[in-house]
Symmetry: C2
Subunit: 120 residues, 2 copies
């Protein structure tokens, strides 16, 4: 169906806005890797019914990202955190190499840990 990885990310961000049934279907299909036919049999509905329900849920997820854009915002933040981590590493390496200061060492380590805590 849709791009699996993108759907998984959108689901992580916006899944709570779907109904429990929609979340179940997406989980069966994307996480448990069940086929449409298997889900249909388990749920006692048609294969086409499962397909439509999943398509609708996916459309809702894409629609929310189009309107709210939080995945894109977090991806930008993630890029900036990675750049901050690189800078903090550079400061730390330079500082250690030139045997400069404990204060600078501590602050650069703290910066790295804060930036990591945002993206982990």
């Amino acid at each position: 169906m849709a791009n699996d990885i993108r759907i998984t990310i959108l689901y992580d961000f916006y899944g709570e806005m779907l109904t429990e049934k929609q979340r179940d279907f997406l989980n069966y299909y994307y996480n448990d890797d069940l086929s449409l036919a298997e889900i249909a049999e388990n749920e006692g509905i048609t294969r086409q019914g499962v397909r439509d329900a999943i398509k609708r849920a996916e459309a809702q997820l894409y629609d929310m990202e189009n309107k709210l854009g939080f995945v894109e915002k977090f991806e930008k933040i993630e890029n900036r955190m990675n750049e901050i981590i690189d800078c903090a590493d550079a400061i730390n390496a330079y500082n250690l190499e030139h045997d400069l200061s404990r204060e600078i060492n501590e602050s650069s380590v703290r910066i790295k840990s804060l930036a990591l805590s945002v993206i982990e």
Copy 2:
């Protein structure tokens, strides 16, 4: 009605998920500071109708934050960015005071600018 500042923040985050009419009502009430009676007259509906529409829109905004939590997530990120900025400032001040290194100066300035770009 509800807490104005909180509503304004929730509206900034989730307003795009409301209908155009709901957004209009919230704008008239919170941004333009019109009274319920004034909005009612402009829109040709009852004061109670306006009140109900605004209450419903507010409830939807609170519901989205309860489910998605992006305001809370961004507030946490903001706190971390402020702490990163403090650390970068500390590195920079120490570095300048002790006349240590251009590399450390440049990296700490870059860190501060990246952290600021996330919260501005």
